[in-house]
């Protein structure tokens, strides 16, 4: 019984952390990625990608609590964040094009 409670506690803590920190990380990565790759002028890329970030964060928070496993849900969060951030920050001069 007490083992179940502590598992449950870790389960909740993992999801809360994933919603707050993971959600922000994914939103950050998506924003950075779109700010580079949207086919728009630079000011518009920046504004529209930033405005979309809150929808991404909300979606991740919902996903995190809907996911079946409290540990495996971290895989897509870390994966998406890493891939999109690398694609955004390693795009050379392409990211600062006007």
């Amino acid at each position: 019984m007490s083992r179940n409670v502590s598992i449950n506690r870790w389960n909740i803590a993992s999801r809360v952390l994933a919603a707050l920190v993971g959600g922000y990380a994914v939103a950050y990565a998506v924003t950075a990625f779109l700010a580079v790759y949207l086919p728009l002028a630079r000011p518009d890329r920046v504004v529209f990608s930033s405005l979309a970030s809150f929808a991404v964060w909300t979606a991740v928070a919902i996903y995190v609590f809907a996911a079946r496993s409290a540990t495996r849900l971290w895989l897509p969060i870390i994966g998406v964040t890493a891939v999109l951030c690398l694609a955004a920050f390693l795009s050379g001069d392409w990211r600062v094009r006007p």
């Binding site: 950050y28 630079r42 000011p43 504004v47 970030s53 809150f54 919902i62 079946r68 990211r95």
Partner: protein, 508 residues
Amino acid sequence: MKLRQSMAGLHTWGGLLPSWLLFVIIFAGTVACFDKELTRWMRPALHDGVVSSLGADDVRGWLQQNVSEELHAFWMHGPTEREPYWRLGWEVDATKTIHNVAFDPRSAQAEPMAETVGGEFFFKLHYNLHAGDIGMYIVGLAGMFMLVALVSGVIIHRRIFKDFFTLRPKANGQRAWLDAHNLFGVVGFPFHLVLAYTGVAIFVASYMPAAAQVSYSGNVMQYFGEVMGSFEREEVGQPPPAPVSLDALIVESQRQWGGGEAGWVSVHHPDDASAVVDVRRRDRSRIGSPQDTLSYDAGTGELLNRQDASTGYRAYLWLAGLHMAQFGGTLVRLLYLLMGLAGCAMLVGGLQVWLAKREQRGDASVVWVRALNASVFAGLPLASLALLWGNRLIPAGFAERAVAEGWVFAGAWLLVALWSVLRRQQGRRLLREQLLLGAVLALGLPIINALTSDGHLIASLGRGDWVLASVDLFLMVAGLVCAASAWRLNTTPAAAAARGRAARIQEA
């Protein structure tokens, strides 16, 4: 766990934990719909509805005579229908402190009115809780919680259409509160979703700096300049020539726009030869006016730049405009006010569902949650009324008068919180007494207004000044509603208990 079950947990806890904070934000935002009308009420000098005849140069003249420090910038706004007086603000270069002054519209010379926090107090409470940048981030996080609670609320709500037409006030406590929570939640849902999203979007540049970091390599000045299409000029470290007339620049701007009104007029580093005057256009016919700022050399009056905002920035302004409700006049603001009140009712209803569920289980710790409820849900409105009392009773010449008003608000709130904690075991009696206090405070305000100014209800109604009269009238209605609720609460405990028993027997 099924999707709906996990979403129910998320909705319950993700909604419960920030709900007191969200109540403060939504209540303050609701009051702020009519912040300018409240400011008029709070400044007796504005009660006769005289429109200022000063010009921009008179206002700058006052600044040059009364402020000797070197300024980073100063800015001013002329009289409008809702604010018939000149406002001036400036930032001191060395200390980065910001000062604000409003000028008496009845005076032919620039003469400051008595200090007050004004209706802007609630606007500021709404967006940063009077806690600077930290408060702004806390409000943003609360906004994200609200978005998540709204989305998860829709997912768990199987019968969203049917529940819209369901209200069972005679059902047992939990069911009735759930109906109320659903009713206000569903009616207000589109509004609350849009306002939560546009609310967090306003400070997007602070909350989500990713795009600027990657696309502008973190160069914030370049980012703002390019996105807004605004104009900046480096200081050259030489004394300025004699400045041109600001009033002439306003007239010139109106000519450039082909008519239209000027809004904010700002002067950047006025004590340097590189000083720039910005004249921003005020266009109330649109949700998000593109601002169309014209920048002039402060010494020669030469037009330096015509703002050409990017499409993205126009979209941002539209979202921000949708949130700030400065379009469409009184009717739109009234709708926002009603929807804001629905938001407050949704929060209170949701919390009552949570409480009723736990009370049935005989959970002893719920009294503390009830005490917190009373401290916030009753405390904030009572403190707001106390603020208006402070505004009327603190003498006009009092030093740091606006700060004193703020302390009246904070002190009153602390007292109500203390009262709620001490009386936590007698929730019903506490609620009745708080309602009675609310009635006394609200009904007393039109009277104290009549005693301390010429803008009393009879005078304002006689002039047909509905804007000023409506503040007094609203306070009277609020006071009467409080009194009626207190009276009802006094007469019905036995009846309510009997009804509750009957309902439970029926269900069983």
